[in-house]
Symmetry: C2
Subunit: 358 residues, 2 copies
C-alpha cells in the first residue's frame, strides 16, 4: 500500500487502526470502508451490528462500505469462510469475552473524549491479593492530574464497572475514562476523584470456574452476596484505601457500572449503603424506592440509557418515583445511541459531574 | 464446551488465553494444542515460528499439536484460507505491527516472571506532549513498590525500548517488566528504579508518516539525530524528570532496548553520554570501544543475545575489546532461546541487577 493510493470517497483511516494501517477507513458521512486481501477465501464478511457480505474483485481483494454508522466505538469481527476472528488491522479490545476488533466513528461537534492540551492524570495497573478468591487480581486506577503534585490531598473514589464479556481494561481503553475526566476537570465541571476499575468476575477456589460471560453477580440475587461483591467489600476497597490517599467515608465513595456492571452496582450498593452514597446505573436497570433500605444514606441515584434501548422507556417513571420518595436522582438518555460505548462515555460524563458535590 | 470434556494428553489452557478459553492448550512436554471450528474453510493453519497445517475432522473441527516449544512467549497467527488473522481465543499483543496472538509456554524451574506474594509496584500510562512531533504521545512508567510510600525519595530511571513492530505496551505486557522488577526488588537483587517505556516511532509533522516497521531510528545513522532521539532528549526525559521524583544526573540514567530498540539505545546513548551512564543492548548488536567518545562516562555496557541468535557469536569478542579498553561491561547469553521475548525477559533480569550500583 503505497503513497500513491487514491481514496476518492475522502475517507480516512479509523483512529482505532493499528499504526500505519490504511483500512478500515471512515467516510465523511461516517460509513466504514473495509478491505481484506483473501484470494483463496470463498466468503468474507464483516460483523458490525449486522453481518455484511464483502464483495471480491478479480485480484482477490474483498471490499465493503457500510451504511452510515452511529458515532462512537463499535466492536466488529471479520468472518472468513465462517470463522469469526478479529481484524489484525485494528486495535483489539476485550469484549464479547474475547479479543474483538473495534472501530471508532467520530462524533461531530463534541470533544469531551478528545485528547486535549489540558493537565493529564494517569491510569495505573495495580495487582492486589484477594482473600476471597485466594488469587491475585488486577485493577486499574485513574488518578487525576493533581494526585502527584498535592501529596497531602485526599480524594473521593468512584468504583466503575464494565459490562458482560469485558474486563478491567474496558473503561480505560474503550471508555476513554482518563481523557473524559481530564477534560471535565480542566473545565472545572467535576471534582478530582480516583476511579477504580476492577474485573467484575470472581470465583472462590472451591467453586467451578464459570466460563460464561453471564456472571451470577449480574443478577439481582436474593440471599447472600455474590463473590464479586465480597471481593469489592473485603478486598478491593481496603486495598484502595490502604494504598491511595482516599477519603474513606461513605459520602466519598460512589459506584457505577454499565449493563452487567449496573446490575452489580445495584446489588453491591443497595446491600452496602454503609459504604456507598452514590449509585450509577448505565444501561443497567432502574431502582425503586423500596429497594433502598435507608433512603437517607443515598446522595444520588443516577440512571441512564441510550435512547434506542428499550430500557430507556422506564427511566422517567423510575425517577419520578424516587423523587416522590424524596431520593435525590438524576437521569440521562443518550441521544440516538443503543447498548454501546457511546452511551456509556456520555453517561460517565454526566454522572461524574454530579459526584461528591456537597 | 462443558466440564465433561476430557484431555487425555494432560494439557492445560495456556495462561495467555482469554478468560475461560479451553484452547490453545499446553501439554506437559510443552507442545501447543490448537483447535478451531471451521467447517466451511478449505485450509486452516497456525503460524508459530513455522507454518503448521491443521487437520480437519468430520465435524469441521481443525486440530494441531505442535512439536515441543521453547519456554516463554511466542507470537502466533491463525491462517484461514490464506488470510493471516489473530486468534480470538488468546490475548492479543501488539507485535509484527498489528494485534498478534500470543501463547505463553511455561518454563520449568524458574519463577522470576511469576506473579508472587511480594510488594508490587505499578505501571502507569502517561500522556505527554512532544514539541518535536507536535503531537501527544503515550508512555508507560513502572514505579517500584515503595514509590508511593516514601514520598521524599528520588529514583534513578531506566529507559527501556521495544523491538520493531511493537510499541510502548510491549515491555509491560509481553515483557512482564513489573513482575520481573517486583520479584528482583523483593529478593534485594536490584535497586528501586523507574522504568520508562515509550513508543520507538516518531515522525515530524512535515515528514511523510512511515508505515513501515523498520523505522530509520533503528539504524546506526551517521549524521543528525533520529526523530525518536530528539523526542527522548527534548521531550521525554524532561517530562519524566518534571513529573516523577527522579535523580536527574547522568549516573542515574540508563537506557536499554531489544532488537530495534537496542539499535536506538546504541544511537541515543553514544550520542548523548552527558545524559546516560548505562547502556544495554538486548539482541541489538555490540559496541566497540571506538564508538564511545568518552569512555570515562560509561558505567556499564551490557550486551546480550539468545544463544540461538547468530549475533551471540560476536558478544565475547566485543566484551573482550571493551575490557581491554578499560570499559566496564557485562554480557549474557540466554540459553536455548532465539530472537524472542524469553531472551529479553532474562536479559532485563540480568541487566537490572547491575544498574545504579555505585
Amino acid at each position: 500500500m503505497g503513497q500513491s493510493v487514491q481514496f476518492p470517497d475522502n475517507s480516512k483511516p479509523a483512529s482505532s487502526n493499528v499504526r500505519g494501517a490504511l483500512y478500515p477507513r471512515v467516510t465523511p458521512d461516517f460509513r466504514a470502508v473495509f478491505q481484506v486481501k483473501a484470494p483463496d477465501a470463498q466468503k468474507v464478511q464483516i460483523k458490525l451490528g449486522t453481518t455484511w457480505d464483502m464483495v471480491k474483485d478479480d485480484k482477490g481483494m474483498w471490499s465493503l462500505t457500510t451504511d452510515p454508522l452511529v458515532p462512537g466505538f463499535h466492536y466488529y469481527f471479520l468472518i472468513i469462510d465462517g470463522v469469526q476472528v478479529s481484524d489484525p488491522a485494528s486495535e483489539s479490545f476485550f469484549g464479547w469475552q474475547r479479543m474483538s476488533s473495534g472501530i471508532e466513528i467520530p462524533e461531530t461537534g463534541v470533544d469531551f473524549y478528545t485528547l486535549k492540551n489540558v493537565p493529564h492524570g494517569d491510569v495505573r495497573s495495580k495487582w492486589y491479593y484477594s482473600k476471597v478468591t485466594e488469587s491475585w487480581r488486577r485493577c486499574y486506577v485513574y488518578c487525576p492530574p493533581d494526585y502527584n503534585n498535592n501529596l497531602k490531598k485526599k480524594y473521593p473514589v468512584l468504583y466503575l464497572q464494565h459490562g458482560s464479556g469485558e474486563d478491567e481494561r474496558s473503561w480505560s481503553v474503550q471508555g476513554k475514562v482518563d481523557i473524559i475526566m481530564d477534560n471535565l476537570l480542566a473545565e472545572g465541571k467535576a471534582l478530582p476523584m480516583l476511579i477504580v476499575m476492577d474485573q467484575g468476575y470472581a470465583s472462590k477456589p472451591e467453586a467451578v470456574v464459570s466460563t460464561s460471560p453471564s456472571n451470577p453477580g449480574a443478577n439481582r440475587q436474593q440471599g447472600g452476596p455474590s463473590t464479586f461483591e465480597e471481593v469489592v467489600i473485603k478486598d478491593l476497597i481496603p486495598f484502595i484505601d490502604g494504598n491511595f490517599r482516599t477519603f474513606t467515608n461513605r459520602e466519598n465513595r460512589a459506584m457505577a457500572g454499565l449493563s452487567m456492571g449496573g446490575g452489580q452496582t445495584f446489588q453491591i450498593t443497595t446491600r452496602n449503603l454503609d459504604k456507598f452514597a452514590y449509585i450509577g446505573l448505565f444501561s443497567g436497570g432502574t431502582i425503586a424506592p423500596a429497594e433502598l433500605t435507608d433512603k437517607s444514606k443515598v446522595k444520588l441515584v443516577f440512571m441512564s440509557y441510550g435512547s434506542r434501548e428499550a430500557g430507556s422507556a422506564n427511566v422517567k417513571a423510575a425517577a419520578d418515583a424516587l423523587q416522590q420518595a424524596g431520593i435525590k436522582n438524576a437521569t440521562y438518555i443518550s441521544p440516538l445511541t443503543a447498548h454501546e460505548w457511546q452511551s456509556w462515555r456520555r453517561s460517565l460524563r454526566e454522572y461524574a459531574q454530579l459526584l461528591f458535590k456537597k
